[in-house]
């Protein structure tokens, strides 16, 4: 049980004495991220390779995912024309399938496959990416001044000095609130995934790897994995749509 949380980290560039900038590189996370991406490319390429009027099984699955997310993005963003919704649709769909496969990769029973989402660097960078996109979209649709005025609180637009003074209170609060969204969205995914793997390791040791861990795998890897991937994706989409309106 001593190897919980222990990861293969390169502190030096291989075969040299040169230190890695920024402290080190988690090799397994990078490797598993690349595995996930390549697997997704291959799966979607196979699904979209022979497009036919009557879809085969691969095309049917891909069409199901794509169709579901197309409707989801359109109903959340509510732009008038279809094209404007389609701008965000690839981002959201790719985010979901990437997170889903990343959460499932830990099911492979070798020590080289660990969930990339069980590393805080992955989830934190995805969270920062989502909030940066939401902030950019907010600035695009309302203008930078309009976005800042929204951060100054609800009383900013009212006439009189009291409304302007209230911004002293609201502005830092709203900025911290925006930053805390990044923390909460990324730590939720990270905590759920690494929590599941820790519980599976501990219970496997207690029960000598008999029967119980399979049920735990089904719950923590497959069920929690898909739900947390969906929650992360939906929260990113919702923050973008709140930023736009």
């Amino acid at each position: 049980m001593e190897h919980i949380g222990e990861r293969l980290i390169w502190y030096y560039v291989p075969f040299t004495d040169i230190a890695m900038p920024g402290g080190g590189l988690n090799v397994l996370t990078v490797f598993n991220t690349i595995v996930t991406m390549v697997t997704l490319w291959v799966l979607f390429w196979l699904g979209a390779r022979k497009r036919a009027e009557v879809p085969g099984p691969g095309q049917a699955v891909v069409e199901m995912i794509v169709g579901a997310f197309d409707g989801l993005v359109a109903s959340s963003l509510e732009f008038e024309e279809r094209e404007a919704n389609r701008k965000f649709f690839p981002l959201i769909t790719a985010l979901f399938v990437f997170l889903l496969l990343s959460n499932y990769i830990g099911f492979l029973p070798t020590q080289y496959f660990e969930e990339p989402t069980a590393d805080i660097n992955t989830t934190l960078s995805l969270g920062i990416m989502g909030m940066a996109i939401a902030t950019y979209c907010g600035c695009r649709s309302k203008g930078v001044l309009g976005y800042l005025a929204e951060l100054c609180g609800p009383m900013w637009a009212e006439p009189g000095i009291a409304g302007k003074l209230s911004a002293v209170f609201f502005f830092p609060l709203n900025v911290i609130g925006e930053l805390s969204k990044i923390v909460s969205i990324s730590f939720r995914l990270f905590g759920n995934i690494i929590g599941g793997s820790i519980i599976i390791i501990v219970v496997s040791q207690l029960t000598y790897n008999l029967v119980v861990p399979i049920g735990l795998d089904l719950f923590f890897v497959f069920f929690v994995g898909v739900i947390q991937a969906f929650v992360f994706t939906m929260l990113t989409l919702t923050y973008i749509s709140v930023g736009i309106k």
Partner: protein, 327 residues
């Protein structure tokens, strides 16, 4: 006066296991009772649907009971985890066991109660619409599973404490870190577990009334539950900071007070925001089920309301970080 190490060990084990099961069993029991009560009312209304009602009630209670099973597993571990260095067992060992007990006790309390709301609402919904039993049951199980993630966070912190924080002797700093991390994640998970259960309950009662809008309601429920869990995530963040980044905490009673104070701040500060944003999520999910056309507007309003109601959890987080790093 020299105390026998076996007695010290026993004190820690009994206190820790008492906290774990004494607090951790309460919530699940309340939740199961809610489910049973509303199943009774439902059978009174629709006696011919009693078999599907009984099945839904049992599934809801079984899934809702898993927080208390987490508490049971950790409680047994607290009782029987081997002490690494029995000759030098001291205050650190007691504090570690008490911290693990507090974490899992408080943490499983909230999720246990929370899992009762969707089970109760599902039985009520079945009494209205007995033909929708499979759809209602599947949404109920998803809602309960998400409401358990605060309890999972608490269990993980308790397991980390049990297996990595066995230190010999008595240090103020180490005792503070163990107890503080336990309170931070334990009490911090209470409100979010309760609140995200309320959100799931609102969604279930909405689906019971308007089964057709279950797709959008499920989405609003998941987003609302996700946002409800923010205070628990703050608690987990502070617990991680204390466990892995506080090696230079001063080793006297001031350091002890800092760590425990930070744990109390972020832990108990998260109860209100968790339950409050759960109330917002409950109404949001119900409103989405009632008027599925307005789902984007309702979702936006719900999210803004939840974010504002969580500002006190952010204050608590700031106070905890100030206690740990500034003072």
């Amino acid at each position: 006066m020299e105390i026998d190490p076996h007695h010290i060990e026993l004190i820690g084990r009994l206190a820790g296991a008492g906290f774990a099961l004494g607090l951790g069993g309460v919530g699940a029991a309340i939740g199961m009772g809610m489910a049973a009560g509303s199943a009774d009312e439902g059978i009174m209304r629709q006696p011919q649907a009693q078999s599907s009602m009984l099945r839904t009630m049992l599934i809801g209670q079984a899934v809702g009971g898993s927080p208390s099973i987490f508490a049971l597993v950790v409680g047994l571990l607290i009782l029987f985890v081997p002490a690494m260095d029995l000759a030098h067992v001291g205050g650190n060992f007691i504090a570690m066991l008490v911290g693990a007990g507090l974490a899992v006790g408080f943490g499983c309390f909230g999720s246990g109660v929370g899992c009762g709301f969707p089970a109760a609402a599902a039985c009520e919904g079945l009494a209205r619409n007995p033909s929708r039993s499979s759809r209602v049951t599947s949404v109920m199980v998803i809602g309960q599973a998400v409401a358990q993630s605060p309890a999972i966070f608490a269990t993980v912190i308790a397991l980390i404490l049990l297996f990595f924080y066995q230190h010999p002797g008595t240090d103020w700093a180490m005792m503070g870190i163990c107890v503080g991390a336990g309170i931070a994640i334990g009490a911090g998970a209470l409100g979010p577990g309760w609140g995200s259960g309320m959100t799931a309950g609102g969604a279930m009662s909405g689906i019971g009334h308007w089964p057709r809008s279950h797709g959008v309601t499920l989405r609003t429920m998941l987003v609302g539950q996700g946002v409800c869990e923010t205070p628990a995530i703050f608690g987990m963040l502070v617990a991680f900071i204390m466990l892995f980044a506080m090696q230079n905490l001063q080793n006297d009673i001031v350091g002890f007070a800092k760590a425990v104070g930070a744990g109390i701040a972020v832990g108990f500060g998260g109860i209100g925001p968790g339950i409050g944003s759960g109330i917002a999520g409950k109404s949001g999910a119900e409103a989405t089920a009632t008027r599925p056309r307005l789902d984007a507007l309702v979702l936006r309003t719900m999210l803004i309301g939840q974010a504002v109601s969580q500002s006190t959890a952010i204050y608590a987080l700031i106070i905890a970080l100030v206690l740990l790093y500034v003072i």
